[in-house]
Subunit: 224 residues, 2 copies
Amino acid sequence: MRLVVARCQVDYAGRLTAHLPMATRVLMIKADGSVLVHSDGGSYKPLNWMSPPCTFAEEVDDEGVASWTVTSKTGDTLRILIEEIQHDSSHDLGIDPGLQKDGVEKHLQELLAEHPATLADGLRLVRREYPTPIGPVDLLCRDADGNRVAVEIKRRGEIDGVEQLTRYLELLNRDPLLAPVRGIFAAQLIKPQARTLAEDRGITCAVVDYDALRGLDDPTDRLF
Amino acid sequence: MRLVVARCQVDYAGRLTAHLPMATRVLMIKADGSVLVHSDGGSYKPLNWMSPPCTFAEEVDDEGVASWTVTSKTGDTLRILIEEIQHDSSHDLGIDPGLQKDGVEKHLQELLAEHPATLADGLRLVRREYPTPIGPVDLLCRDADGNRVAVEIKRRGEIDGVEQLTRYLELLNRDPLLAPVRGIFAAQLIKPQARTLAEDRGITCAVVDYDALRGLDDPTDRLF
DNA sequence: TACTCGATTTCGGGG
DNA sequence: CCCCGAAGTCGAGTA
C-alpha cells in the first residue's frame, strides 16, 4: 500500500468519461495495482478510481512532472497528472482476515423461517427458498386454514419487492395443487408507496422487528 | 485529512453489526470526522467506515493503548482499537472542485430524444420526461402510423426497468386521448430476463449504441 | 426535509 | 464465468 498526497489532475475513460481538475488529493495505490483518489470529504466512495485487476505505470517527463497511467483489461484507463507531491510513503499490510457481518437479509430470513407465526397467527413453514421458474420464493407457508401463503422478505420494503412477490403469486396460483396462494410482504421497514401497492393487490404487509426476533430465538444459540 | 497505518481491531454497530479482527490497515480520517478503514486489496469500498455527519473521539488508556470511537447522530458507532501505529500524518487538502462526468443515462436520453428514429423507423418525439401521476416517462413519441409510443431508457436494461415501463403503459392507456400506447425498452445492454419479460408483455426491446449515437449528433457541438 | 432513482454502483452467492 | 440480487449502498434531483 502506497499513500501519496499530491496536487493532481485525473482523467478517466471507460464506461463513461470523467475529469477532475487540478487540486490536492490523497492517492491510494493498493498492492494489486488498483488506485483510489480521495478528497477530504464526501463518503467512502473515492472521487475516482480504478478497480483491480489492473496495471499501474509511473513515468516522469523531461521537466520532472510525474504521470500515472492505470489500465484495466477491459480498456478502461485512469490517467493522473502529478503537479506537486506533499507526501509519499509505502506500507506492508499483509492480507486482511476479512469482515464478519450479522443482521443482513439472510439472517432475517432464517429467523422468520424459525418463527413464521410472528407474521400471522397459526402460520407454519412449508419450505424456505421454494423454487419457481422465475426464482425462489423466500418462504412458502400454510396458514391456520391450511391455505398456502408466499412470504417475500426484505430488509427495506420497497416497490420492487412487491412486484417480485406479485410475480411469484401469479405463477404459484396457476398451479391447481397450490392455489389459492396469498402473499405476505415482510420487512423491517415498509415504504408508504410499497404498502399502498401491496394492499391494492391484496398482499398483507408485516413489519418485522429484527431484535425482537433474535430474542425469540433459542438463547443457547448465542452463548458461544 | 489524517492518514494512519496501524494494527487495529474494528467493531461497527448500526444497521447491522460487523467485526474486523486485529490486523494492519490504513485508517483515513477526513476533515468532517468520517473514517474509512482500508485493507491492501478489494476495490474502492472500505472494509468498514463511518459516514458523515459524525463525531470522532480519541482516548488513550493507562497502558497507552489508543481507541477511537466514531458516532453518528442515528446511533451508529464505529469503535477502533489501535494496537500499534506504523504511520500517522495530517494533510491540508482544501475543498475539491469536484468531478465532471459524461456518458451517464441522462446523456443517453438526450441523444435518443434527438434521434428517436434510431429506435424505430419513422418514430418522432412528442415530449421528453412526459409527466404521469407515477413519474415522468423518458420519451413519449408517435410512430409512423401516428400511434403513441412510450420509451423507457436505461444504461443497463434489467427487470425493474420493464416493470417501470409496464406501469407507465398501464396508466397512459387509461387515457382515451392517448391510447393505444405501445412501449419500447431501450438500453445499451438488455439482460435476458428483462428481454423475456418485456416481450411477454408486448414491449419492444431496442439495444442502443451510445458511441454511434454520439457520432450521429451534430459535430459542431463537440468542437472543444 | 423526505422520497425516488441512477451508479464506472460494488459485492457475494449459485448455477 | 455469467447471472442475479442485496447493500450500513451513496448522492443528486425534486416535490
